[in-house]
């Protein structure tokens, strides 16, 4: 039993969480997500497995180029007594991407922040306020095929300058800041990605 999550460095992360029914339910959902992912996308491996969060990393190859991805599924948060929340899953591209050489002034569509963020670019796969995604969906049956779709349309965009997938109207709705990113896309050439998983998710380890 670990009531004091994070402060106890001797406890394995997978056992972290408060006691009671919430971690057990969260564990059930985590196992369901992991099973579905292993079955459908074996190239994506679990790197962090907590009751309230699962992180996978691995490669997807939509056509001929492999791309490394980190997928984070948040099911809740631990504040010493775990709470369910529904922040959306996030997908971070850990392979450098670039703008079109023919039109370097045009930003890459459908990413949060800068394409050359050294921690990787976060993909925007759906309108957070739409009903495209909900927390009953399996990541392996929604977020991952959408990521493959994003990568495919990105490759096609590089060639044609046209984004072929369906796009939500921006209107006057401000773009949510989650996961984390500055809003302006830079125009520098791609930089190497350096995004160790624990540095990116330092809040897992409460001081």
């Amino acid at each position: 039993m670990i009531a004091d999550v994070g402060s106890n460095w001797s406890a394995p992360l997978c056992t972290a969480g408060s006691t009671g029914w919430r971690p057990r339910v969260a564990r059930f959902f985590a196992d369901m997500q992991i099973r579905a992912m292993t079955e459908r996308f074996p190239t994506l491996k679990v790197v962090i497995d907590l009751p309230w969060m699962t992180i996978w990393e691995g490669e997807l190859t939509p056509l001929s180029q492999p791309y490394r991805l980190r997928i984070v599924d948040h099911r809740g948060m631990d504040d010493g007594g775990m709470k369910f929340a529904s922040p959306w899953p996030s997908v971070r591209l850990l392979t450098p991407i670039a703008r079109r050489p023919e039109a370097p002034e045009v930003a890459i569509p459908h990413i949060y922040g800068s394409h050359d963020n050294p921690r990787g670019a976060d993909l925007c796969l759906y309108h957070p306020q739409s009903r495209d995604w909900n927390d009953e969906m399996l990541v392996a049956k929604s977020i991952v095929p959408w990521s493959a779709e994003w990568l495919f349309y990105y490759e096609m965009w590089l060639v044609t300058g046209v984004w072929g997938g369906e796009e939500a109207e921006h209107g006057s709705v401000p773009i949510p800041l989650q996961p984390t990113a500055p809003q302006r896309q830079g125009s520098r050439p791609p930089r190497p990605i350096d995004a160790p998983v624990m540095r990116s998710f330092a809040y897992l380890l409460r001081s």
Binding site: D132, P145, W146, E149, W150, E166, E167
Partner: protein, 383 residues
Amino acid sequence: MLHAKPVERFYDDLLADVARRIQLTPTAYKEAVAHFDAVSRYFDENESGFPDYSPVIYPQGSFRMGSTISAYDDREDYDIDLILELMIDPKADPDAVLQLVARSLETGKGRLKFSTCEIKKRCVTLNYANMHLDVTPAVLVTGRVPRVISIFDRHPERSNHALANPEGFARWFDGSVRPRVVINEREVRAQIVPVPQQTPSDVKPDRLLAVQLLKRFRDIRCDRGNYDRCPSVLLSCIAADARPGAGLVSDLRSAALHLAQVVSADDLRIENPACREDVLSDRWPKRPGSNQRFASDLGILVERLDELVREDGTQVRKRDILMDLFGENAARDGYRQAVERAGMQSRSGQFAAAGTGAVTFSGTVPSGSTAAPTHKFYGGAAR
């Protein structure tokens, strides 16, 4: 068509889109048919002075076989070949026959709307603003399989009369590349044989698309290397005999390899399968070595096709390969079409990813793949 890997379907569809782009536009095709109809009707009427010769007019060559292509630099200049069968002395003087046809056509210039009329070695050419129409007078040879004809040749170094069978060749070609298509029997006595409808490229057999792509590749490479073009009829005949491939890329590769092997022979001799006296290779190569250079270029085509479908390289590189092989506009439009088609699949919930993330394009979600639920991308800079 079954594919070993999901992405192979993508490249087959992409190449079919490129082939679609190099066909005549529907507008150009309609215009060609209108000119064909006008010439046909004209020869059937007394004004032409030809009804006494019982004229039978029908298309031959690429137009008949459905493999006409546009020019790679997008010049609107294409040719339509017609046979004009006449009941005249098969041993008549070629000059006299060709002049008779040319005079008649000149008389009808007002209604036929051509700009100039020229007498060539075997045909009379009518030039229009963006196309030309070659009318080749001929006599049906009796006692032979349909439709062996004798054509008139003014060339001083060739025989005045040569046997040919373009319609028989077209039927043989149809049978080779369209085994499941019922080929309409043509009425031998009909005075005007309708032009075949241009088949949309999405229902054309792979080998027919491969022939069109080979012709476009030939045009680009011959102009670039300054050597004489392998005639379309010869190319089509050899390509039709190649082993079939599994999908368009594989089929084109097989046809190119076979073509390279055959044309590289020093003693190249290819006969029309519907008329042995009709030697399709008798006028090529005009310059020695052109066949070897074409064979060498076909080898490059095979290498590039292998690189196209290989599991590495960016799509930008693959687009550049297609631009080099088949022309810039065809490659760019092919990719645009691929994006549109993928978008339709996304909207219908049929866009899917296999276990490696490889996107699948079979129209339905194959087993082992996961369909992407319909959704809309968001975020990033509004465009």
